[in-house]
Amino acid sequence: MKFAYYPGCASEGSGIEYHMSMERTAYILGFEIQELEDWNCCGATSGHNTDKLLSVALPARNLAIAERSGLNMVVAPCAACYSRHRYAEHTIQHDPEMRRKVEQVLELDLAGSTETLSILDVLVNKIGTETIAAKVVNPMTTMKAACYYGCLLVRPVEHTGFDDPEDPQTMDQIMKALGADPIDWSHKTECCGAALVTSRPDVGNPMLYRVLKDAKESGAECLVTACPLCMLNLDMRQAAIEKQFGEKLALPVYYITELLALACGDKPSQVGLEKHFVEAGTYLRTIEVRGAEARAAAEKAAQEAAEKARAKAEAAAAAKAAAAAKKAAKAEAASKAESADGQAAPAKEAAAGKPAASADGDQKKIDAFVAAFNKNPDKMAAKLVADEAQAGILVSALDDKKKSKLASLMVKDMELAKKAAAAYVQQELKKQGECQS
């Protein structure tokens, strides 16, 4: 994937780390960025405060350069640059009169074919958080980060539209992919004071203080931004805010691209971390130690859980076996009771219908049948031999050995038992005949 790249004026000065980490991010994630040739300043707030035509014409010159380069997707990491280029695109596409004026001012034709993208939109919707997560080698586990979107990445919705204007989530999603814990807080889209912090600190400073204070009170240990002006205010002006409001904040501030590159294995110097005003390296080392501990603890807990699950499975298997034995014992008791009434057959048939019955269970049934033969031989004989006289002969022929043989056959196969019984009758008749003769 290839994008035209609009670095913005801050990339050459106060926001140099954003530029460095942006290039690292593209390299790590394998997408190309091609800097727009001889780009100019978008005019920012001063432009649209002064003249509407100028505020569209300045970014439109850059868009024309992008059109000429054949790259229609323009990534503008700075939130203000992004907003002004989106505004210009929107105007060129929807206001024909304004477009004509802009074309006259620039002395060229505009196709209106470009789409300027914020870095959050690119990372989440063009690259994807799974791709990012797959590249992470130093996860930011236990990092409590306040994702700060500020104003112009999410407002006005008709120019941005890639995220929710009140509770945006794209930066949070990226932070989660890096292994961090983004916190929930109320000032994620409140204004940091922007240029007012410089031009009217009496107005801008309280605005900036409220953002920092809410992050701190919501449990954040650092702030993450995607805007060089937000960074300038939150980071460079933080010491002055602490002094003015008499409150220690000590919140390191990071560009989202810095954290991404660092989580994917970059050294702090590669993204310019030492250039920050609020010392930013210590917290990352804290995270490294704390994260490793947390991961070890999580691993241990997972192992324990697995062990517990295994023990539980074993216990369940044992309980199941015990239940089966209990069931078999119950069946034995039942068949015993039935055979006491001379009603052993149904029990035996029921047992025959359950081939899963254990050998132990069979033996118990055999024993029950033997007992029934001893207790009530006539009834048992009647089950095996239909003829009453022959049944009587069978009873007279039964000894312990025959009883046990018949009982075991009755458990296994009723037909075999009947045949055996008939054979015993024939044997007995033969024996008696021999005696008589």
């Binding site: 100019n40 405060n49 035509l53 104003c151 006005p156 004071g193 031009s199």
Partner: protein, 189 residues
């Protein structure tokens, strides 16, 4: 009818101005029903002489001078919260922007904000890009506060976050022409 209150006392001149402002801002002030949601969410309202809702009300009542003279339009940080929350779809931020430009034409402005904007745009016109360090220095000198943010200058230079010289683009001539042609169109948009 003698005791009735006239709700739209604007004369024709004021009406024309309001129409012009609405057109340039791409919005309509008559949509506003004065709920105050814009003011409730405005992060800078605490510093304004008239909060956003009242500025819109002034326009509705034809009090254009009062609106254009208010410091509110210069305190507005263009954060767009009001516009994104307005239940009636009034683009208040765009109106504020338009009113700033109108006030500027009439020479009514917050000196510090105007000085900053002028310095910023002169950078863009001359170099094609913003020269941050030069801009801050110039702003501080023009506004008579030469020692403002002095403690930040050296650390920025040391960190390579402030270049001592401006970055100049090749198309500087082009930039000058853009500014000149915009001036020729001046007042038309």
């Amino acid at each position: 009818m003698e005791n009735s209150v006239l709700l739209s006392p604007a004369d024709n001149h004021q009406k024309a101005l309001i129409r012009k402002l609405e057109q340039e801002a791409g919005t309509s002030i008559s949509l506003c029903y004065q709920c105050g949601k814009c003011t409730a969410g405005c992060p800078a309202a605490f510093a304004m002489d008239f909060p956003p809702r009242q500025v819109i009300r002034m326009l509705q009542l034809g009090l254009t001078d009062m609106a254009l003279n208010s410091n509110s339009i210069w305190i507005c940080a263009s954060c767009e919260t009001c516009s994104s929350r307005c239940p009636r779809g009034v683009d208040i931020a765009s109106l504020m922007d338009t009113m700033r430009r109108e006030a500027l034409k009439r020479g009514k402005t917050d000196k510090k904000v105007a000085a900053f904007n002028k310095a910023f745009l002169s950078n863009v016109k001359n170099f094609g890009r913003t020269f941050e360090a030069g801009l801050l220095l110039r702003h501080n000198l023009v506004t008579g506060q030469p020692f403002k943010d002095m403690e930040l200058g050296l650390p920025m230079l040391k960190r390579g976050k402030a270049s001592p010289l401006p970055h100049m683009i090749k198309g500087r001539q082009e930039m000058k022409k853009i500014f000149e042609r915009v001036d020729q169109f001046g007042g038309e948009q």
